[in-house]
Subunit: 359 residues, 2 copies
């Protein structure tokens, strides 16, 4: 058990007047115990009780959790009634905080067995802690972002006329392997021309032509942490309109990043980029929030959007990714990951953002 | 909307006296609508009401769901209160059946907004339908299993002394790509020697030596459907004990498969293999259920275990995978996928099960 992280979780549980929580998201359990276990459809849960020494880790006998983790293990089999078992350890006289991702197939039986007096989504207790990365995590996020920077640099050399989006995606996978990445944060988004205007377009057989924009939104994983970046190139030529849109996005990205420091409201960072794009006449084509938190998961709790009034704090890592999407025509997005420091921010992606025409 | 599948779902809803259900598992929504959408942490839900024409598909504006799906779409944005929105469409005067995988972060607010009078896990309504594959699905399961058979055949030629488990896993990934697979059902389990006795052992730097068993549990995906098979080879030589264990497992696999026909209880199929292994003195080393259902997901609802009293029905596809795991020594598992037919079963994996010594 990572006692430092645990203490921060207990602190927030205290603020929320929560005595007990049940974490079941594999990332949440890993974050506290240091043990990675993907339970599939099976149950795997960490029960934390801040007032009594009765934390438990519920483990299926099929899982290999041999190491001493600093928490008592409760073993069960596929044929056991696991939720009844868990309910025997929780305190039915007070609210049970549950994991945001606890599936209904577990939550409804817990309710039936009276595991708690009432139930609330308690993931904020851990997500708040996870949102501010500790030194070990910062190191891993820097390292994986550096790999991603290298990868996009190598990938940019592979772009050639007539190639398919899927081919470029395969080149990327090869590059990631050669760089020693542990996989991808998400399937790569490689979009040529008008495909770049389609939200979450997946690589298909579209071939590259002169004058196309090439939107590349990619992320590798390393040591459990996720990279995520976007660059948009132009192939062989760039039109006046493409250039105009590109420069607006580059400036919007810079304006937002310039605002990031402890105390800045996340909604104001979103606003800085959004107002600039709107002033330039493209507001309606910037169709998503400015950014999302990231760490062990590519999308973690928290975002940089008009709805988030929270302030940036040291250790937070999130994306800054303004975009303009002109249906049937083109799309441009530039995305970095940024780490909030004591007095500003550290941009984790150093791959250039100047307009690049691939020859 | 696949009206045939929908009718079968309505029928089961009727049996369970459920008027309304909310499906959110991407596979469940895909199964009914034909539209694949991985929503990540966002909401994506299909509301079905069997008594009134008020089915709805709740779609985030960021998703590309342009096609006509035969169901009215309700669009929302990241900044909307989605569960309040959904609760405006459900019938608060009767029980709301929810998806088994509906996360607490959605279920708890639905309860707060009074989306239903009460809440039950209603996934059985769709899982029962999904457990019996229709003709289209059978074709896809045959095709993907054939690919898996081919892959293990090609992979067996790549096994050589001193290689690491991770290297053989990489060879497999290359083979899958060359065969045109769409990815894997699960990360390949490649276990040399004593690693084969460890449940869910992931490939590591262990190197292959003469006399090792080579347990290969792998599955590719194609057209949304999952393969899954296991074979255990021996490298250069086989000991008397290895041979004994192998032949027991081969026979246990055969005995179970011989029992499969409509009307056979799934627990009895498990029992046939388990009793045989127990009679041979290895019962305590067969530490898991005999099989699991499979289709679009590698583990679907339903299993072949002592706890499952349900009968096999035509169209069901599940694995038969007896194993004996001798800690510190070796492990043997043989796994096929089988399709229950009108009068028996069709074994979807035709790769041989005779003891094979790789030279």
């Amino acid at each position: 058990m990572n006692e430092k992280r645990l203490d921060r979780i207990y602190e927030i549980m205290g603020e929320k007047e929560l005595t007990q929580i049940l974490l079941t998201d594999p990332f949440a359990v890993f974050y506290v115990t240091g043990k990675w276990q993907d339970p599939g459809e099976r149950f795997f849960g960490l029960y934390l009780n801040r007032t009594k020494n009765r934390n438990k880790l519920f483990v299926n006998r099929l899982f290999t959790v041999e190491e001493e983790l600093g928490v008592e293990k409760v073993w069960f089999s596929d044929t056991d009634n696991v939720m009844e078992l868990v309910s025997g350890y929780t305190d039915s006289s007070c609210t049970l905080g549950v994991d945001k991702n606890l599936p209904a197939r577990f939550l409804l039986p817990l309710m039936e067995y009276g595991a708690g007096l009432s139930y609330v989504n308690a993931s904020d207790c851990i997500d708040q802690v996870r949102s501010c990365k500790d030194e070990q995590e910062k190191g891993k996020m820097r390292a994986v972002s550096l790999l991603n920077d290298k990868a996009i640099g190598l990938l940019s050399k592979k772009i050639r006329i007539g190639m398919k989006e899927t081919e470029l995606a395969q080149e990327l996978m090869q590059i990631y392997r050669e760089l020693g990445c542990d996989g991808v944060s998400f399937p790569p988004l490689i979009c040529f021309g008008a495909n770049a205007a389609v939200g979450h377009h997946e690589p298909d057989d579209t071939t590259l032509s002169e004058g196309d924009c090439v939107l590349i939104d990619i992320g590798c994983k390393k040591d459990f942490y996720c990279a995520d970046m976007t660059r948009t190139f132009f192939f062989k030529s760039v039109s006046a309109r493409q250039k105009e849109v590109y420069e607006i996005i580059k400036e919007a990205n810079a304006k937002a990043e310039a605002l990031i420091r402890p105390g800045s409201k996340l909604c104001d960072i979103d606003k800085a980029a959004r107002e600039f794009i709107t002033d330039k006449g493209y507001g309606e084509y910037f169709t998503h929030r400015l950014g999302h938190f990231i760490g062990m998961e590519v999308h973690e709790k928290g975002d940089v959007s008009s709805a988030n009034q929270n302030e940036a704090k040291p250790g937070m890592i999130f994306s800054i990714e303004p975009g303009i999407y002109l249906p049937g025509e083109q799309g441009v997005r530039i995305e970095d990951l940024v780490l909030v420091t004591e007095d500003g921010c550290e941009i984790l992606n150093s791959y250039p953002k100047e307009l690049l025409i691939i020859e």
